[in-house]
Symmetry: D3
Subunit: 67 residues, 6 copies
């Protein structure tokens, strides 16, 4: 399945923090840190762990610009 | 002002497309393409143009993981 | 690629409206209407047209509850 | 009050998971599962429980398309 | 219908800009400007016009903090 | 750094609730309550506490209208 989100940034998982409902996933994307908050269940279903090759998937309307 | 968004990815503007209400901004971030949709007015107020050094600013709750 | 978004609702495209930057896609999901706004480019790259079988993909943190 | 969000999907609550800050609400919408993450306080104020008739309310700009 | 979004800020419409797909709505909320981008169709269905009493409705997970 | 988000609402922190992954921050903005959910780490890095002068920063595409 191809998803319409325009941003699919290749990276590596550095850290996974599981909460009761949410989970924080820290990735390295080309030398810059990218942090995602997804549900605990998603993190477990994707079996996310340090070293995994993943993509940070982000809808264009959720990206702001800083200058 | 420091903003709580966890993701501030340093990049360069490649292209700006102005619509009536929205604007699409394509950036290069460490060799990967990042696309933002912001309002036309924001793009004009930030005077965004090709070659600008910018940050892609993204709230962690808006980042998904693909594996 | 499996995406962490918890909501993948199977549906059929009913209408696609292309703007300069954005595109509105109206779908039928189990008899209820679901509307997405994605970028024009995404709509064209996915070659979306009436009758297509698609999924409405939605991050759980973007779903509110009305009661 | 009518809200501008284009997506109001009629469904039934199947499960409510309360965390310290967030709450996960699983619904059945026309035979498909829809998951929301809202704040714990919202879940309590709406007094959400299994069997409740509710709506999944989603802004169109938060819906992606998978094909 | 009560919606789980925690933020319902009472304000007045100052300006409505209709695009092909999106619409920008500028409001005054307690002396501060709040801008929404919704779909053109929503703006028309709500028959939004200058002077209308409205609420800016925002999910808590979409609010960042600047300090 | 100027951020493209169109909404920067000046307010004061009333309460901070830290969870394992998320944090809820309640603010007073011109006499109306605004609630943000950010990551625990952001709340700690910004050293948010009652009485702080802050801004509620919100992207226009995340604002709905209620009428």
């Amino acid at each position: 399945m191809e998803v319409s989100a325009r941003n699919k940034l290749k990276g590596t998982v550095k850290k996974v923090l599981l909460g009761q409902v949410a989970a924080e996933v820290v990735m390295d994307v080309g030398g810059q840190e990218v942090v995602a908050v997804i549900t605990r269940q998603s993190a477990q279903e994707l079996n996310l762990k340090e070293g995994d090759s993943v993509y940070a998937v982000i809808k264009a309307t959720d990206v702001m610009i800083g200058k």
